[in-house]
Symmetry: C2
Subunit: 414 residues, 2 copies
Amino acid sequence: MDPNLLRSYANVLLSAVNLQRGQCVLVRGEPVHLPFIGILAEEAYVRGARYVRYDTAESENPRLYKARVERSLEEYLDYAPRALYDPYGSILDEDWAMIVLHAPEDPDFLAALDPDRNARCVRSAARAMQPHRRRIVSGNEIAWLVAFLPTEGMASRILGLPPGPEAVEELWRILVPILRLDRPDPAAAWGEHCRDLAARAERLTALGLESLRFRGPGTDLTVGLPEGAIWLGGPERTAKGRLFFPNIPTEEVFTSPHLRRAEGRAAFTRPVLVPSVGKTVEGGWIEFRDGRAVGWGAGSGKEVLDTLLSMDEGARSLGEVALVDGSSPIFASGKTFHNILFDENAACHIALGSAFPGCLRGAEGRPEEDLPGLGLNVSMVHTDFMIGGPEVDVTGTGRDGREIRVMTGGRFEV
Amino acid sequence: MDPNLLRSYANVLLSAVNLQRGQCVLVRGEPVHLPFIGILAEEAYVRGARYVRYDTAESENPRLYKARVERSLEEYLDYAPRALYDPYGSILDEDWAMIVLHAPEDPDFLAALDPDRNARCVRSAARAMQPHRRRIVSGNEIAWLVAFLPTEGMASRILGLPPGPEAVEELWRILVPILRLDRPDPAAAWGEHCRDLAARAERLTALGLESLRFRGPGTDLTVGLPEGAIWLGGPERTAKGRLFFPNIPTEEVFTSPHLRRAEGRAAFTRPVLVPSVGKTVEGGWIEFRDGRAVGWGAGSGKEVLDTLLSMDEGARSLGEVALVDGSSPIFASGKTFHNILFDENAACHIALGSAFPGCLRGAEGRPEEDLPGLGLNVSMVHTDFMIGGPEVDVTGTGRDGREIRVMTGGRFEV
């Protein structure tokens, strides 16, 4: 790979977390990403980082995770060692920046594991991570970022080419415009784009919608929004007030719907590779009543939905609804990336699982047990399903009963 | 590589730490070792391990360590983050087993770094690790093991071949007998060998020597032993009383000399690659007076000694004296391994730096500040220098003044 391109991308990521002089950085990702992480570390130190630490979440070390799921005694599959999760305490206390590279070396490795044994490990890891995850992802106590990085396996899957360096080169060619690495100053281009998303989110918040309705082939879903719903998009702010971008790429504006007010049926418009299960759902649909999934199915991969929806109580209700314009360069690429960072930014989507307290006035900083009372879902999972596209229209209803056209033919009208 | 050989070696290592059902394992080593660590994890889970965790010490992640030493702002080089060292607290509390694979992907990478900046990072890491290191390595609170694993870089260095899989294959051929992997039951062979070493250590302890004198070309060194000195070799015992072997391979019996009673000059009989500096000392010597190094030199690499001996106060006094018989298969191989695990087990040696409280009656479990008063050295470093060989004789003096021939022509007489 062109080292200048990698260096440029590293700088986009460091700008996204708004790295400060004297700050430490945690980089997570699979060992296959270490050559890039080395470049990222160099750039971080040049910017004045105090320390760059590499670590893996459990399933980010595929060899060891596979060994565990395949060979561990049954009785230890629910175990999560303190030594893995305790460090997040000091990482939060010391205001580190956290960058998670989300791209498996082998996109099929999780799918090859026993689903029940994998689910037990996923659940125990999610439970152990939950208090930290809440402070990081929901509470924005520190700057965090989830970003993609091509691997041979992913490039082969996305492009249908044999795995190898050529597939990676070809994938980078597609990614360069999506990641805005073709701009004279990519970090500045991301800054400008994120300000545009933030402006749209502000307009949507100002509308004070009571509900959103998605209509298209196989879809007629009405999602209720709690009073005081806040739309977000682009930059967020840490507890200390520093701006950061939690996802690269990002094309969405989103909020958290009312957990007891989803009605109707949503058909998925794109395949979804569920990360913790490693398998793809194609042609899927979910039917909601009083906010809860009461039926679901799929052309293939229904068992993935079965596993996911039984992870915990909150896995059956919505935590997010997001709108993506058809002008998204990810949508424009015409590719399915089998990676949520891209696919969720190609189309409108809903997510089963945890809601964002930052998306409801007065909810941020409240203890978790208060959230359901405010209409916000709590769960250890959060999984996106794309339901938007050129054939799906979105209308809103204001608190005064007025209808508002939000999206028509996959394009924003607000 | 032959996967059966790797699996057999993995089982030797798991037997060495005496892995128990329900125990967790920390495996440390460079990312290049992950294929082997995957096999080790499989075998650990088959034996009933509760969890296998992979992590790196700072310099075990060469790309990130290099980025730091080369690019960090000056003011942050002494920083050691809690997130790296805190986990050892729960690892110790929960009685994990710890396996450190000690074999760099690139044996020259540390040597290419700025020595002063590297020394600052080494010192800060050693200082942060010190309380844990003391509980692990000195206190044996948990079972720990340092073991070698061939890399292309190390194989090339040892054999003088171009780096590549062929060099690794060739190195394994040399290692198979040294690692006793040619025996029908390698783990049992190590058990038997270690019992022999323990019996020799017991005989030496029973002699109650007051001092040891090494005489050979360039060497006339007398090392005083404190009253109550205990010789160790082969298995050790954890705080919970479980046997384990801290090194694979191991051919030595050793004790800790009196920190103020070394007199004379010792010439190194083999090159020493000082791990934290990554450079080799050849033709080195040290002169001691009242236990302290007062002069030193080398045919090449004197600056390595300069760096090492100024690490802290204790780096100038002895913490270990060890005897190795000429029948050692490592010595018999005729190779210099540029790796202390092998080279220290090829010849008698002394170590500058920290002593072992387990080598003195009544010292174990005493607070660190008491140790110098008992004659035991305290330091954050511990570096071995080989001073034995076929031309070096070792005599002992008993507390009654009697002379005892300990080794003649490189062979034990006790």
